[in-house]
């Protein structure tokens, strides 16, 4: 009985997480832990993924068809769910990236002239 069922508003942060995940996956298939680690490593630990929200996000993106997932055996012989980016996801990534670039450019300009 899902009594506590409320609609959530999409927030800016969620969009960012999508972008980061898609970008990570565009470099090759990866499992959840790998995605989180990669983001942290590349951003010099500045961006720390809230791990609890990573999996719902992955699930949601899978539903949206941007990424696909399979259970596979990893190199060290463990079962893992490997995510890879789909064609729709690639398109989405390009759009998001452009949006992001525009946004950062704009923010940068504002900061410079302020």
């Amino acid at each position: 009985m899902a009594i506590l069922h409320r609609k959530k508003k999409p927030d800016a942060l969620q969009g960012t997480l999508d972008l980061l995940v898609l970008k990570t996956l565009s470099r090759g298939p990866q499992h959840g832990y790998g995605i989180a680690s990669h983001i942290e490593a590349v951003s010099d630990d500045v961006l720390r993924v809230e791990e609890g929200s990573l999996y719902p996000a992955l699930h949601r993106m899978e539903q949206a068809g941007w990424i696909a997932a399979d259970w596979q055996i990893t190199e060290n012989n463990r079962r893992a769910r490997l995510y890879r980016i789909t064609r729709a996801g690639q398109k989405r990534l390009d759009e998001e990236q452009e949006k992001w670039d525009r946004l950062t450019r704009a923010v940068g300009k504002v900061l410079r002239f302020a």
Partner: protein
Amino acid sequence: MGWLRRLRGTLVGSTAADGLDEEMQLHLEARTREYLERGLSSEEARDLALKRFGSVTLAKERARDADTLRWLADVGQDVRDAWRQLRKAPAFAFVVILSLALGIGANTAIFSLLDAMLLRTLPVAAPERLVRIGSASAGDRSSTWSYGIWDQIRQHAPMFDGAIACSSIERFNLADAGGETQPVDGILVSGDFFSVLGVRAAAGRMLTAADDARNGAGTPAAVISYSLWQRRFGGIPHITGTPLVVERIPFTIVGVAPPLFFGVEVGRAFDVAIPIAAESLIHGKDSRLNEAGGWSFLSILSRLKPGQSREDATAALRGMQPQIRAAAMPALLPPALQRDFLNQPFSLTSIAAGMSPLRRTYRRPLLILSAIVALVLLIACANIANLLLARATARRHELSVRVSLGASRWRIARQQLVESVLLASVGATAGLLFAAWGSQALATLVSTPGRPVVLDLSLNWRILGFTAAVTFATLVVFATAPALRAMRAEPIDAMKQRDRDGSGHVPLSSGLVVAQVALSLVLVVAAGLFVRTFERLAAVPLGFDGDRVLVATVNLYRTGIDPAARLPFYDRLVERVAAVPGVEHAAASIVTPIGGNSLIDVVNLPGEAPTMQPFEGGRLSPRATLVNYVTPQWFAAYGMTIRAGRDLTDRDSASAEPVVVVNESFARRFFPNRNPIGATFAGLTPPGAVPVQKTVVGVVADAIYDSLRDEPVPAMFAPLRQAHVGVPQHISVSIRSAAGSPTTVAHDVASALTSVDRDLTFSFRAVSDQVRTSIRQERVIALLSGFFGLLALLIAGIGLYGVTSYAVSRRRGEMSVRIALGAPPASIIGLVLSRVCRLVAVGVAIGAILSLWAARFVSSLLFGVRPHDMPTLFGAVVVLALVGLVAAWLPARRASRIDPADVLREI
């Protein structure tokens, strides 16, 4: 295909969240390992990993929220919940589903009949272009035509996209030899009947124009129905070429009609179709084809050309009218009528839905029945609404708890709705099954042995749509109030230990009960009127005693006896039958009581201007009389009393003075205040002939001639030997048995008939069956309305009981205080009853007004009872009051036995 996977996940009840568990577990393990590698203890590593991850449950919850088809899963959950709730209250579920199944089923069954009879189009190609040729002044009652007219229209058929003719359904005897008949329903059709209708054979071929040529060579062709193929021939594959004897004439089966094709008459179906031309082979000199008098027996249909309007076609046909009419002028038509005949304009009526005398008979009864079943469903809805309201009230506490825990009101109302929808769907499904059985049973109920009613009652989108619409309407009526009530649940209610105010519930329930009582009263009054109509009809004095009379309809077709030799032959037949042991009297006649036929003549008294018109405005004129031609002993066979004068005797031969015995109504009408014995009069006389004067020799008591509903009408009985209408090829022999059931002598009578001529064909029927059959429709209506009236009473009783019980349980505290203060049990009972009495009184008052208003719609179906019959209304009121009293008595008595100490302990 993401949505497919999502859908599967939703339906199976497991979302991707299941795999999520393992995945997150793996993540935590990996993180723990990482911390271990950094040198933390295993416990610290695990703790830190968990801390960093956050709430696992919340993550899962969010992942589930991501399912876009989540609502579907919720509804699925609601359905499962509703199912569980209903399983917990099986008696409630049973009552609701049963009443819905009965209500929806009855409505669907009646609608199926209405649909088959009134709405469905003929199973032929382009039925919308079919029209029937009628006579503008005659309306649709008598649009049958003589063979002469058909022959002319056939020659002018190119003005249409084809023209066809057919007889109405007749009985054909398929017996190979003499003896008892093997009757089936048959039809005479023109050669291109099937091709113009666009009906293709299921096997072999259909008839062609060549089959319908008069004086054609070889054995004539016949087409049989699919049903006869299965029934009589076991569906053998090579049916074409099989011989088939129809009325002693050998035919050859050339093909089988498709299964669903019944002809163009809705409600009847043919088993054998033969060409119209073959009729002359069967009836020889008596053929309707040669009939110079222009025997009207053919319905003529034509198909409009594509794009041709009915007005254009009518104009074209009327243009041809003078030639057609003139060429088909019946030779025996009196000159006075010839002009009328020539000038009667043709008219065309659309018959896309077929033609049907059945429609006229059953239209009103069916409409009234559908109103009755609609009311029953409405009463059942009121009851279900009340039951659901009571349940919703009982669940108030639970609902309030859920509201305070954050459930949305819409969600709670939705659950209530899902429960209602579940109930309605199960009820509707059961109702459809019930309807399939019920409509067939109804069709059987209105069939009579000689006239089976055959209707295509298979399901179609109209019926399914109707059922769906009725179910939806039902749902709206019974589910709205409980769902709204559920939405009103307040968190504060959860704080109260027990719900004591139940505000708003009582007025609504009371309103529903009043409506139930009012509608039930209407149904009980209707049932009363119809049952009394049937009783009155069954009690109509017949004027004859038919209980011991068997009628043998004897047919000479096969014997080849010369018309001149028929009379002596009939005499011999009657003599032989009368000699059979166990037979008290035997007599022959052309017409038998309630036999479905009548002969009509006019009475031209000496000195009056002679009339040749037995009808006036579609009814018998005051100068008309019914006629029958009988042999001596006929009155004795029916136990009819001669009031004055003498009976007909053997001396009243063809050469003797023409005589008649008249009934009392005849004597009163034509010889008021004088002795009719010895009086003379003349009847219908062919043009140019000298009128034959008949002398009245006796007066017989009034008796029913054709219908129990008829007022006594003048009738006269002439000796068969003096029959100026000619002696027909078939005759009815009425046989009175000495004792007991007349059917016991049937076997011996059959051998006696066969011993006179073994080529005779005959069939038997008991007069008492005939009487019963004639009031079958009234019986069916009385039965059904009675059944539904009782059902309505039962439902209303349950409703009253429920509401009273509920009120009593709510006022337990008040009652116990009254009892503790010394109120006697009788006053407590009075308190409860007075409330119920008010409800019943209001309901009855409204119901009485409704009944009086609605009575006008049934008046044409009543007999011997007025629509505003006060005893019936009063009786219905008493019955409802009694039901209300009983329904209220039980809870009232329970209230009077409340132990105040018990209530005190509960507080």
